[in-house]
Symmetry: C2
Subunit: 234 residues, 2 copies
Amino acid sequence: MKGRRMVVTYRDIKADILRHISDGTWKPGSLLPGEIELAARYDCARATVNRAMRELAEEGIIERKRKAGTRIRKSPLREARFEIPIVRAEIEGRGAKYRYALVSREVVVAPDWLRVRLSLEPGDRVLHLVCLHFADGMPYQYEDRWINLGLLPQAEETDFAATGPNEWLVETVPFSDAEISFSATEADAVIAGLLGCPEEAALFQAERSTWWQGRAVTHVRLVFQRGHRMTARY
Amino acid sequence: MKGRRMVVTYRDIKADILRHISDGTWKPGSLLPGEIELAARYDCARATVNRAMRELAEEGIIERKRKAGTRIRKSPLREARFEIPIVRAEIEGRGAKYRYALVSREVVVAPDWLRVRLSLEPGDRVLHLVCLHFADGMPYQYEDRWINLGLLPQAEETDFAATGPNEWLVETVPFSDAEISFSATEADAVIAGLLGCPEEAALFQAERSTWWQGRAVTHVRLVFQRGHRMTARY
DNA sequence: CAGTGGTCTAGACCACCGG
DNA sequence: CGGTGGTCTAGACCACTGT
């Protein structure tokens, strides 16, 4: 009279383990049963338990070491994941109308601070662009970008009046490594003028350097309009 | 004379796919071969290909849909992961000496803005703490915390003069959901005084609300010393 | 050196959804 | 409806590392 036994999924196991942590059955630092033991308890294959625990480890909930076993992390070294969207998508995703404007364009020898950041050689030339991004006609983001002409010489011939450098780069360099950092900055006269905010206003900014196969592609400083927030759940 | 054939690992496959994207073999938007096809090409089990592609999808490199197959993402919807450490660990991790100070403590009825954020009832009581965290004797972070006494009544009897609320909460509420957001703020008179920076200085701040099993635990506003950055690679 | 997690395999069933 | 990815299984070998 018994139908087919419901199969235990790795999601079930994750949820069950989280429940045990939540209700205090397993406390921070304590040792969990091994995979074989749990597979027996849940009556499933070890691979299923493995996937559940591997994901919990990736999420920073538990800590696994061969031979030593699996433990609940003392202070849950958790991490928040932030999507890094393209400005256009970000603005249109909020249901606002996107507009882009090129403010200035110049080809120069890379200044020292940039050479250091991107590991460029003395004398290397870069394309320096300043742009503005608008949401519903209001200034949304100031973009100060430097593109390595040694790696992307075609950038010098490209017209950035219509298409922003961000979108051009995405389709030109399909895949890349990046380092991004967030901080606060005070609006200088130029930025205050362009964003239409008071000088010295506190603004949220992101700086990102990008590499492709070990070579520097671009460096960009993005300064957001007053009051901008970046949010994540975790 | 052939020894045991080298087994193809899921890491090999990930690397190979990334190489194909990097060198332009597969362009953004293009359709990749199915799992069975790839398993045959790499001469491995489908599960191995599946794990490689599943991880690439999690990382935002590719997009998978049943029946439709797997494609390279148009604009690589990538995400940066930031570790959210406890202040003490953050400071000691930089090799600096950590010191904590409680600035003020009061039990009050939750103000309206907090009630809304944490979905509290009118009249609910909260513990309001203001603390300072020092690195090598220099003010590092200002902490403005509110703890829900309805959920954690024992907080009212706890002495936060020695141990910071953050560490107390971590060991009291082992697991929780959180929403965190980053922005820039101007130093008001109080914060400028405590952090020792000019009034109106642009400061980086994080705000976090935390829930345990659906009930609000705490809300905290963390304001960092001038020049603070949060960095990630991706 | 022995126990634990890490990974691969070959096969199977199934859910979803595009054509 | 049929092809694609999603997942589970039972078994195996291996790498790492604490004891």
